[in-house]
Amino acid sequence: MIEWVNAVVQGILLGGLYALFAAGLSLIFGVMRLVNIAHGDLIILAAYLGLSTTVMLGVHPFVALLILMPAMAGIGYVLQRGLLNQTLGPDILPPLLVTFGLSVILQNALLEGYTADPQKLNAGAIETASLSVGGLSLGVMPLLTFGIAILVIAGLQWVFYATALGRGFRAVSDNQDIAQLMGLNKAHVFGVAMALALAVTAIAGILLGVRTSFDPSIGGGRLIFGFEAVIIGGLGNIWGTLAGGVILGVAQTIGAKIDPGWQVLAGHVAFLVVLAVRPNGLFPRVTH
């Protein structure tokens, strides 16, 4: 019995990481209706840039975040204004195909630069540290990851609803043309949204790299996990995304408990069940 409780608890904590994969995806979709197929590869890019930073400067991965977050934000702003803004419009094909092309380019650039060998970020003693709670042994890193996910989501919620920047996000999301008439430069607002999303991606990439090994080919899988968390939680609801991540994580750890080969499959099945029963997700934001 305790083993199953343990599987559920570990799944909940894993869900924090998936919510971080999903947060950037959700933010970009919310502001500019763009689904970024390269999102997973950008997470892996962040992990590799984190690796280079820790190796070159000899710093802890968490310290590397101080450099990585602004760096990824910069990449995001340039990417959005230089490339992705040109794809936005009524037709869904250009953004989809351009980000798909970007995904292939990123994957192969990482392969060229870092080879296909699996890599891992070394976070020292914290990786193996654990706490005992009521017969369960909880890893400090998973707990920390979950805590960071809650903080990031609360932070995004705050930015969205309590700052001038968030007002800009909501304005362009509601009606781009009128927002433009009110003096907002939508190209800039989109750039800032992508910068913010990729800053979150930097956090996700570092936490992923500390948790497991990674190689250039796994970006697509991370995109899918993030996407499933978004759909399970309900489009447009950022706390729902956390819930979606948790459900996905629990489904995976329970699947793995039954048979190690079923871990990822069980997550996909949970997603399909939600899609069949509640196509708008479990906690959809009411839209008119």
Partner: protein, 338 residues
């Protein structure tokens, strides 16, 4: 002055049909004039051409942008292996049956993923492909995660000599490409094809004219899935070996196909043909560069999408008003007549 005539065919399209018929005869004779390696390459080209035409029908006409067609390529491949090894069927029968099974399977799949719109539909198809991959990786009698080879006896049942098998495999690929292009062409010329073209141009207007959008899209999805599975069976009949990672590879069966269609010209019948030729030209010249080649391909696709969204064929058509497959109607006043 004579009354204006509405036609579909043009002189260019008639000439193109004659050239295509001649080319087809030459290609059908390839086992007698081409070397072994060339024959294999041409077989692969025809199968990619078929995949590109099918993806183009879905994405370019029905607005179903899928990045998960590898689900049906892999399914077809695995069905070839399962039905021949366990069912004792002849490989060609198994491949046709794989198409039927894929059509049946695609209906419940569509019922689920059609709930997702636009770009989310795209990722939903990818999830489905992953479900297929992980499921087949669990089947230990088909080799599990490491895959399996087609037994020698089954391979020999195709033709006793090696050159005979290679020629048969080539003809099957050529035949598949001809059947796919002809079917897509006839479909687009039919009443349903007109409905599909209307949906492509404006969903709202098409629905206002009484077209059942969901149903039309479902039909396209089911037919495309069936053909894609058949092509998958043929691809793995060439390879003679299957594994989940090869069968459900997003790069091999979807990324390349998307690049072919985008570069050639999405939403046209000529586009996939031009795109396949460009793709294989690039591949044969740049393949030694490995990852660089894929990056170049990605950059070319992005530039085409941004600068010439109708692809190479779109540029040609706008410049010369050319249409090799007569799909659109033209009004012509015959000024030379009485």
């Amino acid at each position: 002055m004579s009354a204006p005539v509405v036609t579909r065919a043009t002189r260019a399209s008639r000439v193109a049909m004659i050239i295509a018929a001649l080319a087809l005869i030459v290609l059908a004779l390839a086992p007698w004039w081409a070397g072994r390696a060339d024959l294999r390459l041409m077989g692969e080209i025809f199968l990619y051409l078929s995949l590109a035409c099918l993806w183009n029908l879905m994405a370019g006409y029905a607005g179903l942008v899928s990045v998960g067609q590898q689900a049906f390529v892999g399914f077809g491949g695995y069905m070839l292996f399962a039905l021949t090894i366990f069912g004792g069927l002849h490989p060609i029968v198994a491949i046709v049956l794989a198409g039927v099974l894929a059509a049946a399977l695609s209906v419940p799949v569509a019922a689920l993923i059609f709930r997702l719109k636009g770009a989310y539909f795209a990722i939903g198809t990818w999830v489905m492909a992953e479900v297929f991959r992980l499921t087949f990786a669990q089947i230990s009698s088909l080799g599990g995660g490491s895959g399996t080879s087609l037994p020698v006896g089954i391979v020999k049942s195709l033709a006793s000599s090696r050159s005979g098998r290679e020629a048969l495999s080539y003809w099957l690929a050529l035949g598949a490409a001809v059947v796919v292009i002809t079917c897509v062409y006839l479909f687009l010329r039919s009443r349903r094809g007109l409905a599909l073209t209307a949906i492509r141009d404006s969903e709202v207007a098409a629905s206002g004219l009484g077209i059942d959008i969901w149903r039309t899209k479902l039909e396209v999805y089911v037919v495309t899935s069936a053909f894609t599975a058949i092509i998958g069976g043929l691809l793995f009949l060439q390879k003679l070996r299957i594994s989940p990672d090869a069968a459900f590879s997003v790069n091999d069966w979807t990324a390349f196909v998307i690049f072919i269609v985008v570069i050639g010209g999405i939403g046209t019948l000529e586009g996939p043909i031009i795109g396949t030729l460009i793709f294989f030209l690039l591949r044969e010249t740049l393949a030694d560069f490995g990852t660089i080649y894929l990056m170049v391909l990605g950059v070319v696709a992005i530039v085409v999408m941004l600068k010439a969204p109708k692809g190479v064929w779109g540029l040609v058509r706008d410049r010369y008003d050319l249409e090799l497959f007569p799909l659109s109607y033209r009004v012509r006043t015959d000024t030379k007549g009485s």
